[in-house]
Symmetry: C2
Amino acid sequence: MTITITAFERSPDGGKGLARDTRVRWALEEVGQAYAVRLVSFRAMKEAAHLALHPFGQIPTYEEGDLALFETGAIVLHIAERHAGLLPDGANARARGITWMFAALNTVEPPILELANARLLEGDKPWSKERMPLVEDRVRNRLKQLSARLGDADWLDGAFSAGDLMMVSVLLRLRSSGILDGYPNLSAYVARGEARPAYRRAFAAQLALYTGKPPTG
Amino acid sequence: MTITITAFERSPDGGKGLARDTRVRWALEEVGQAYAVRLVSFRAMKEAAHLALHPFGQIPTYEEGDLALFETGAIVLHIAERHAGLLPDGANARARGITWMFAALNTVEPPILELANARLLEGDKPWSKERMPLVEDRVRNRLKQLSARLGDADWLDGAFSAGDLMMVSVLLRLRSSGILDGYPNLSAYVARGEARPAYRRAFAAQLALYTGKPPTG
């Protein structure tokens, strides 16, 4: 059955790979599943046809036969459960890999989203300059804890898993802020993720929408 | 095997059931699994023994034999996967139930956490009064979309699932703000969740830590 995901017709990041379809593309590349992409405009994302697929009017969505999913974490987990390569075999190790997915999305990403809001939505407000250090400290608090746990390991729990895929994707949102530079082991962890051939194919595929050139993989 | 979870020795909410152990207690009650609770002080949460269990120094954790998990979403999913009662039987319906878990934690909860931060951590800042409406609007934007999707259904996708458990738990954090009152179908949805016998047992169990009275169920 064909897998079809949705992506921004014009991503707000202009092809930096930070839109959430990159996370799903990466997962599909890791497990070697081909997929089709349907592009959605900002206007169409808020219309009934797309809202039927995604109640919060976002991308990505995932369609495969009569299954329709939204929410990146759920899509990546679905892919990881049905194909080898993104979760370990043992039941306990598998549960721990899934734990890191939730940790990325519910513990590490919320302060990063708050920082993005502070910059994009409140950057012109009178309180922006004074407030920014508080918001950055909330991010640093999490990074410090994550850095301590990762130590000098390559990945968060044994071999690369969907938990790492999600954590690297979340941390990538911090690159432009420079905050990640304060945590060399996390910077190296993110670089390891980006160096994976599957990530590079996913990145190239989303970038090709902007350059007009087909991905060369 | 005994299941042991951790909870705050003194929850910051004083027994309102908003600490995240209530979500795990609720899941265990829905599937009829007995559990033990180990209480952790604020100081002990930041010490090495607890950080080995939970790298972000929070509660709850989950221990069962040689399995140790953290992160509420992962724990509830683990319980839902191993016992009947929290996810439907069909593969597609099951994937959709999991989707609502992620939607609760990664799409609906982040703006609610931002609102909590605005109140608890920035309530005394000079920008608080002017900024609050912006933060509340981000919450309302999500509630409006969720309300439109729920419509007049009892639960988000068919029968009650772990997705509803998580969404109700997330929305409960808004009760004191009054924001939920603007969405009668969401208020009724939350009330349906709270009326479930399993929720009532979970709520009573966490409250008993404060009243000193054993839960009466």
